[in-house]
C-alpha cells in the first residue's frame, strides 16, 4: 500500500491553442512526500499542478490521485477536491467573509458538517497558522501574508490528503514570505503530502524530498535537493540555477 503513489502523473500533454505547455510530463508523489517544482516562467509548472485538481483539463496522458483518474469525464469532482487542497498565488479569499467564515464555508456548505464542530476546527486552524485575534477580520483588512495563511487554513479545513501550492509567496513582500513558509514547513513536517511550485530555492532545498526542474513543458531533471543543487547535469538546469542562486 505504501508503495502506491498518492499522485501519479503519466505522460501528460496539454496545449493552450497552438501553444503546447506540457509535452509529456510524468512524476509520482508518495504519501507524506514534499516535492517542489521549479523552473523558468512559462515552463508549465502552474499548469501542471492546476491539472492535478482538474482546474485545467489535459489533452492526453493520465493523472491519478489515490487511484482516481482525474480526467475521467465521469469523475465525481467533489470526491477529488475533498482529497486535494489548493493554495493560490493571489490568495483568492472570499472578500465578503471574515477569516473564520472563509475557513468554515466549504466544510459547512460542501461537506454539510455541523456548525459547532466546524467552528471549533476553524478556530484551531487559525491558531495553527498563528492568526489568533484575526478571526473576525475581513480579507481586505489583513496583510498579504495573513491572507495567505487564512487561505492555507481554509484548504486544511477540508482535511485534504495532498496540498497544492501554486507560487504562494510570489505576491508577498520578503518579510511576510517567511511567515507563510514557516506555516508550510510546519505542515510538511506534520506529514502532509505537498506539491509546491515555487521560486524560493532556499526553501525548496530545506523542505523538499524531491525537486523537479521543468523547462518548456518537459521535466528536464529531478532529484533530491542534496544532489540536485550541487550536481545538476543538464546545462539548462545549471544555467537556471546559476541565475537564481
Amino acid at each position: 500500500m505504501s508503495e502506491q503513489p498518492l499522485v501519479s502523473i503519466r505522460n501528460v500533454h496539454k496545449s493552450f491553442g497552438s501553444l503546447e505547455v506540457l509535452k509529456g510530463v510524468s512524476l509520482d508523489v508518495k504519501k507524506g512526500e514534499v516535492i517542489c517544482i521549479i523552473g523558468p516562467s512559462g515552463s508549465g509548472k502552474s499548469t501542471l499542478i492546476r491539472c492535478i485538481n482538474a482546474l485545467n483539463t489535459i489533452d492526453s496522458g493520465s493523472i491519478k490521485v489515490e487511484g482516481m483518474e482525474v480526467h475521467d469525464p465521469n469523475l465525481d469532482k467533489l470526491e477529488l477536491r475533498k482529497k486535494v487542497g489548493m493554495v493560490f498565488q493571489q490568495y483568492n479569499l472570499f472578500p465578503h467573509k471574515t477569516a473564520l467564515e472563509n475557513i468554515m464555508m466549504a466544510p459547512l456548505k460542501v461537506l454539510k458538517q455541523p456548525k459547532d464542530e466546524v467552528e471549533e476546527r476553524a478556530r484551531q486552524l487559525i491558531k495553527r497558522v498563528n492568526l489568533e485575534g484575526k478571526e473576525n477580520g475581513y480579507p481586505g483588512e489583513l496583510s498579504g501574508g495573513q491572507q495567505q495563511r487564512v487561505a492555507i487554513a481554509r484548504s486544511l479545513a477540508m482535511n485534504p490528503d495532498v496540498m497544492l501550492f501554486d507560487e504562494v509567496t510570489a505576491a508577498l513582500d520578503p518579510e511576510t514570505v517567511k511567515e507563510v513558509l514557516t506555516t508550510i514547513k510546519d505542515l510538511a513536517e506534520g506529514g502532509m503530502t505537498c506539491i509546491l511550485v515555487t521560486h524560493e530555492m532556499g526553501f525548496a532545498r530545506e523542505i523538499a524530498d524531491h525537486i523537479y526542474f521543468t523547462d518548456r513543458g518537459v521535466i528536464v531533471e529531478h532529484g533530491p535537493p542534496s544532489t540536485f543543487f550541487s550536481q545538476a547535469k543538464d546545462p539548462r538546469t545549471r544555467e537556471f540555477l546559476s541565475q537564481i542562486l
Binding site: 485538481n53 467533489l78 477536491r81 475533498k82 486535494v84 472570499f94 472578500p95 465578503h96 456548505k109
Partner: protein, 250 residues
C-alpha cells in the same frame, strides 16, 4: 369640515384653478388613497419579481446549454428594445385573449389574469430584462480566480453562485440596480393604459370629472412620486452602506 378641509375649500372658491378637491371631498380622497395604495403594491411586487427575474436570468446566462443562453438573450433583446407601453398593451390585449376564464357565478366570464395581473407580469419582465444585464455586469466584475478558489474547495456551480459570486456581484450591482428600480416605479404609471387603477389613473379620472382640479392633481402627482422614489433611493442607499465590506473596494 375641519379647518384643513375648510382651507382648501375656500382656496378653490377664491382660485378656481387650484381646486385640491381631494383635500375636502372624502370621495375624491378615497380615490387618491386607493390609487396610491395600488401604485405602492404594483411597485413593491414588480421590484421583487424583477429582481428575481434578473437573478435567474443572470444565472441562466452562465448555463452550459447554448439553447438556454440564447433564450435569455432573446428575452433581453425583446424587452429592452421595445417600449414598455407597447408591452403592456400587447400582454393585456393580445395575450389576454388567450388566457382561460372562470365563472364565479355562472354568468360572468372572468379571465384568470386581471389587468393588474398583466401589468405586474409585463412590468416585471420589462425591468427584469435590464436587471439581468445589471447582474451580469456585476458577475463579470468578480475575478475568475475567486470562483476558482471556491471550485477548488469542492463547491458546485450553484453553490459557487449562491455563496460567492452573488453576494459579491450584488454589491457591485447595487448602484445600477438602484437606477433601474427607480425607473420601474415611475413606469408603473403606464399601467394606466390598461385601466389599472393606480395613482395616475385615479388622478386623471378626478380631473376628468372636475376640470378645475387639474393643476392640483399634477402637483400632487409630482410630490407623491418624488417622495415614493425618495424612499426607495434612501432604502437602497442604506442597503449599500450596510453591505459594504471593510477593506474591500473603497
Amino acid at each position: 369640515m375641519n379647518a384643513f378641509q375648510q382651507y382648501f375649500f375656500d382656496l378653490a372658491q377664491e382660485y378656481p384653478k387650484w381646486n385640491f378637491i381631494f383635500f375636502y371631498d372624502p370621495v375624491q380622497a378615497d380615490r387618491v388613497l386607493s390609487g396610491l395604495w395600488m401604485t405602492v403594491k404594483l411597485s413593491v411586487v414588480c421590484v421583487i419579481l424583477s429582481v428575481l427575474i434578473g437573478l435567474i436570468g443572470a444565472w441562466l446566462q452562465g448555463a452550459k446549454s447554448q439553447l438556454l443562453r440564447s433564450f435569455v438573450q432573446g428575452y433581453i433583446q425583446f424587452f429592452r428594445n421595445t417600449p414598455p407601453l407597447i408591452q403592456l398593451l400587447f400582454f393585456y390585449f393580445a395575450l389576454g385573449q388567450f388566457t382561460p376564464t372562470y365563472s364565479p357565478d355562472g354568468w360572468l366570464e372572468v379571465p384568470i389574469i386581471s389587468n393588474v395581473g398583466w401589468a405586474i407580469i409585463s412590468l416585471s419582465f420589462f425591468a427584469g430584462a435590464f436587471n439581468v444585464e445589471i447582474f451580469r455586469a456585476g458577475i463579470e466584475a468578480i475575478p475568475e480566480s475567486t470562483q476558482e478558489a471556491a471550485e477548488a474547495l469542492g463547491m458546485s456551480r450553484s453553490q459557487n453562485f449562491v455563496y460567492v459570486v452573488l453576494p459579491l456581484a450584488f454589491r457591485v450591482s447595487l448602484p445600477a440596480l438602484n437606477n433601474n428600480l427607480v425607473n420601474l416605479v415611475k413606469t408603473t404609471t403606464q399601467a394606466l393604459a390598461i385601466a389599472v387603477p393606480e395613482l395616475l389613473y385615479q388622478m386623471v379620472s378626478i380631473y376628468n370629472d372636475y376640470s378645475t382640479a387639474q393643476n392640483a392633481c399634477m402637483v400632487i402627482l409630482f410630490i407623491v412620486y418624488i417622495l415614493l422614489v425618495g424612499v426607495l433611493v434612501l432604502a437602497m442607499n442604506s442597503w449599500e452602506r450596510a453591505t459594504r465590506i471593510p477593506g474591500y473596494g473603497h
